[in-house]
Amino acid sequence: MNARAPLLQVTGLAVSYGGIKAVKGIDLEVASGEMVCLIGANGAGKTSTLKAIAGLLPVARDSIRFESEPIGGRPAFELVRRGLALVPEGRGVFSQLTVDENLAMGAYIRRDHAEIRRDLDNIFDLFPRLKERRQQTAGTLSGGEQQMLAIGRALMSRPRLLLLDEPSMGLAPLVVARIFEIITEVARQGVTVLVVEQNARLALQRCDRGYVMESGVVTLHDTASALLDNDQVRKAYLGE
């Protein structure tokens, strides 16, 4: 295995639904330890890209490599074991399960009970609100709390690569800021992060690098600070 190879390497990824091509052969790389965002308008193919990486869509085997291994089209439940975790769009918490049970499902693939307990404590340090609500069913939580639960649950699998789909969706600005603080903190602790986000400004302020998608293709990619200064990006995505 090449130590220099990026953790995640996407080459010529194409996704189509029936006859409609949602992603038209994109390239994308995330190196270990990076925090990368994928921005773009509604329907640009961001979510499809993320779903394909997480194993939720059938794609060509070689179009996605994780730690140099081709993983395209492998089922999601297998990829979790390899160290990939997706926080899906709309959070996807198990609303009738308690907070504790949701987190237990996050650690489904693990058997190291002592370590699981330690990770659980870490999650509760990160999200004290969840600790207060351990026995509540997830459906009774607020949107922000559900997002925290979804992130905490994904972290319980000890991912090397955390994929987040629109973590800011439907949340109040203050909560969004807090969620992004936490994602940054998670990244600082050594988890590689790829986040899809409509709130381009916030995402670019927090990430190392960014990719801009439009109608199924990557139109731009650069360091986040360069993208923040890019005229095109400023006009199209930052509303300036």
Binding site: A76, V80, P88, G92
Partner: protein, 309 residues
């Protein structure tokens, strides 16, 4: 009044059996929204396997205590039913995952016919006398009676349902089953192999069905290759009554249905001037089904219809 108490006792016995079978329907429905019409046939196979094993052990003149012989019959029936359920899920239902819901439903009817005919080929088309070897002592409660077989059925049913409830709420597999029933796609993102969880659901339901089969055989003293279809349909009514997909609902629905049926059979003659006799017993389950579908389609305990995200 004595008839009333007696019919309640009989109804609760029958209801315990319905509840055990209804759990299988409701668990499978909860997880893949399939009404597994072949589930009643699994009960039949359970009864038949137990019948064969008990008969063989009696033929050996082994001198084993009768209770142990029945237990061995059940111990043989359970794995056979589990294997049958696994096979039907693997062969008939899994290939249809993602197909329109009508396809697996019709397949289930097909599987039911196949299993029934297999049962006929193996165990003959005649009603079989299920060996009545358990000592059936009768206890008097006022004017009503309770038998040891009835007590045994209650005891087994209650402990099985208790064990299932614990399993669903406390074990990793149980929580995974609930997670999968709420959102299979996200369950996959947790590393849960959804197909395995579905197979496990079928297998657990089949174990309960096998035990129910032994119960019915022992209670009525008879086994027949068609016994599963009506029993299965009634258990399905019980599951709908409780709220399909809801486990406590299936238990409650089973018990209520058993009691309604027994009371109905006990009083139908009195209320219709003996125009109808207790042979109309089977009508009540379906009257209940129609009433539930008209007035409370989500069932007694089923609260969520369409809140699946």
């Amino acid at each position: 009044m004595d008839t009333f108490i007696q019919q309640i006792i009989n109804g609760l016995t029958l209801g315990a059996v319905y509840a055990m079978v209804a759990l299988g329907y409701t668990m499978v429905y909860g997880i893949i929204q399939l009404i597994n019409f072949a589930h009643g046939e699994v009960v039949m196979i359970g009864a038949m396997v137990a019948f064969s094993v008990i008969g063989a052990l009696l033929g050996l003149d082994s001198g084993l205590p009768p209770a142990l012989i029945v237990l061995l019959g059940a111990a043989a029936a359970i794995p056979v039913c589990m294997a049958v359920a696994y096979a039907m899920e693997r062969v008939a239902y899994r290939p249809l995952r993602g197909a329109p819901r009508l396809a697996p439903l019709i397949t289930a009817i097909g599987v039911s016919i196949i299993l029934q005919q297999l049962g006929m080929m193996i165990w003959s088309r005649n009603p079989l006398a299920f060996p009545q070897i358990l000592e059936n002592r009768i206890f008097h409660l006022g004017g009503a009676t309770v038998s040891t077989v009835q007590l045994a059925i209650w005891l087994v049913a209650v402990s099985m349902m208790g064990a299932l409830t614990l399993m669903i709420h406390r074990t990793r597999l149980g929580i995974a089953m609930r997670a999968t029933s709420q959102n299979p796609q996200v369950a996959g993102l947790m590393g849960i192999d959804v197909n395995r969880v579905i197979a496990a659901t079928f297998i657990i339901g089949a174990a309960l069905a096998a035990i129910a089969g032994v119960m019915v055989g022992t209670y009525y003293g008879i086994a027949h290759y068609t016994m599963g279809s009506l029993l299965g349909l009634k258990a399905f009514c019980a599951a709908v009554l409780g709220g399909i997909g809801n486990l406590p609902g299936a238990m409650l629905g089973g018990l209520i249905l058993g009691v309604v049926e027994a009371l109905g059979a006990g009083y139908i003659g009195d209320f219709t001037g003996n125009w109808f006799g207790s042979n109309y017993q089977d009508v009540f389950a379906f009257i209940v089904l129609i009433l539930v579908l008209v007035f409370r389609p989500s069932g007694l305990l089923g609260e969520r219809v369409g809140d699946r995200t």
